[in-house]
């Protein structure tokens, strides 16, 4: 019975594990203290200040060499990202127009795409009543109708 007659090795192991667990708890208490939080804030502030100085120096050196620095590349990337944002908006607008045209073609009398052509909901009655007083119901029906307008990624 190892429990009743532990070997010296078992005892040493148990002692070690207890010590480690106590150390872990002590460290968790330590990092939970206000003083540690304050220390972390100050260290972060200093690290950020040093990073800024280093980055400014590096950027100045790179620019003086007439090379594109990190900021220049990031600026280009940002322009691309904004263009993609605009493209996404245009695509969504095109889809809305297409849906409206499809809806008008399907029911010549319908002027409002979110009106009589709303797709049926599979939600519970309670959910239906919840969504009835929200414009999101119209959004859902849009999503349902857009199935036919699949677009490549």
């Amino acid at each position: 019975m190892g429990e009743e007659n532990p070997t010296p090795q078992d005892q040493a192991r148990r002692l070690y594990e207890e010590g480690e667990a106590r150390t872990a708890r002590a460290m968790e208490e330590l990092v939970g203290r206000d003083s540690f939080g304050e220390l972390l804030a100050r260290v972060t502030e200093n690290a950020m200040a040093l990073t800024r100085i280093g980055a400014d120096l590096a950027d100045t050196a790179i620019r003086n060499l007439r090379l594109a620095g990190r900021n220049d590349v990031a600026r280009l990337g940002r322009q691309l990202a904004r263009t993609e944002d605009k493209l996404e908006m245009v695509l969504q607008e095109v889809e809305r127009v297409r849906e409206r045209l499809d809806a008008d073609a399907a029911s010549p009398g319908a002027k409002d795409a979110g009106g009589s052509t709303r797709s049926s909901s599979r939600r519970s009655p309670a959910a239906k009543s919840r969504s009835s007083n929200s414009s999101a119901g119209a959004r859902r029906s849009h999503a349902g109708r857009r199935r036919s307008a699949k677009r490549s990624p």
Binding site: E45, V73, E88, A127
Partner: protein
């Protein structure tokens, strides 16, 4: 094993131990076959391939802005995605990608009001359905909750939130970054994209001995007595070490609004001018908390249960940590089936 046996195994164990550490990047993670459905900037919507889709309502997985969503599909044989697919769900994943300096202008509004609803729209389109189940984990859960609060009658039928921070008062992270002396503006000004390694370091410092020592000691002992599971350790270690940057604007807003001002739980958070009122959440709601979670401790999530207007609210409180709850060795037999059951009951036509 006696000391002599240990001594004889020492050279081989040392070689094995270092080999496991040095080759962890070779581990195969996120291996389930999937297709790109939609992309926008760094965000990608994936759909996992399946020949056995039974439940009409698709499941959209949303992970945090720190670490990669590969944890949903960690390794073959221990993958939540694989499990959901085997249960007949149509599974989608919204991957936020790896933001760079050019994404410094991406804020919480961009995630909650643009990328997430657009991802939902594309999910519905690809699945040919009108409704979706949102399953958010950690910050991903908070983003889903914000979205649901802004669009209570939207396409999300079910909302499953795993270890999600809602009320940050009294949290350890709040103690660190919520104090006035922590200058989040300075951090966000210096770094257009906050290095993921810095955020990972902060997360690990919450349990420094466990993360920086016990993990390796356990591995060493496992190697020494021949019980170490190389594939499990390497997959998790690879995932833990993969830390994408956090866009500076989103970081500034997350720290300020969630930790310094704790706006969400108080209903004082506004996105694009609209108040994020948790009381407007009407979806079927599942909240999963982990008893040993130090990043999103249960007391910080439970206020959501009282705040929402949902008629159907379920709460699972399980043992485990922030990640171990869903990715630990017992998750497959304990929490995954319960989540799948909850979803199944609410995913019919």
């Amino acid at each position: 094993m006696n000391p002599v046996q240990q001594l004889t195994r020492l050279p081989r164990a040392t070689l094995e131990f270092t080999n496991i550490l040095l080759t962890q990047d070779d581990a195969e993670i996120a291996a389930s076959p999937k297709d790109v459905v939609w992309t926008h900037r760094k965000t990608t919507l994936y759909r996992y391939r399946s020949a056995d889709r039974v439940h009409p309502v698709p499941v959209l997985l949303v992970f945090a802005l720190i670490n990669r969503p590969h944890i949903f599909d960690l390794r073959p044989g221990n993958s939540f995605v694989e499990f959901l697919l085997s249960e007949g769900f149509d599974v989608f994943l919204l991957d936020w990608g790896e933001p760079g300096d050019e994404d410094a202008d991406v804020g919480l509004e961009s995630y909650v009001c643009d990328s997430l609803p657009w991802g939902i729209r594309e999910t519905l389109r690809a699945a040919g359905e009108d409704e979706v189940s949102l399953l958010g984990w950690c910050i991903g859960g908070t983003l889903c909750a914000m979205h649901a609060a802004l669009e209570p009658g939207g396409a999300a039928r079910n909302l499953a939130l795993l270890t999600t921070p809602i009320d940050t008062a009294g949290s350890l992270y709040g103690n660190w970054v919520g104090r006035d002396s922590f200058d989040v503006d300075q951090v966000a000004d210096v770094h257009p994209a906050i290095p993921g390694s810095a955020i990972d370091w902060a997360n690990k410092m919450m349990k420094p001995v466990t993360n920086y020592w016990t993990t390796y000691r356990n591995l060493w002992e496992g190697v020494l007595d021949g019980t170490a599971r190389r594939d499990a350790y390497q997959a998790m270690a690879k995932w833990v070490a993969d830390n994408p940057p956090f866009p500076s604007r989103a970081y500034r807003e997350w720290i300020t609004w969630m930790y310094k001002e704790n706006r969400l739980v108080g209903g004082r958070l506004r996105l694009r001018g609209e108040r994020v009122d948790l009381g407007r959440i009407e979806q079927n709601l599942l909240v999963v908390t982990a008893g040993a979670d130090h990043i999103a401790p249960p007391p910080g999530t439970l206020p959501l249960l009282e705040a929402v207007a949902s008629d159907d609210v379920t709460h699972f409180d399980r043992s485990g940590g922030h990640i171990g709850l869903m990715a630990g060795s017992r998750a497959k037999g304990e929490i995954w089936p319960d989540i799948a059951d909850w979803l199944r009951e609410r995913s019919g036509r």
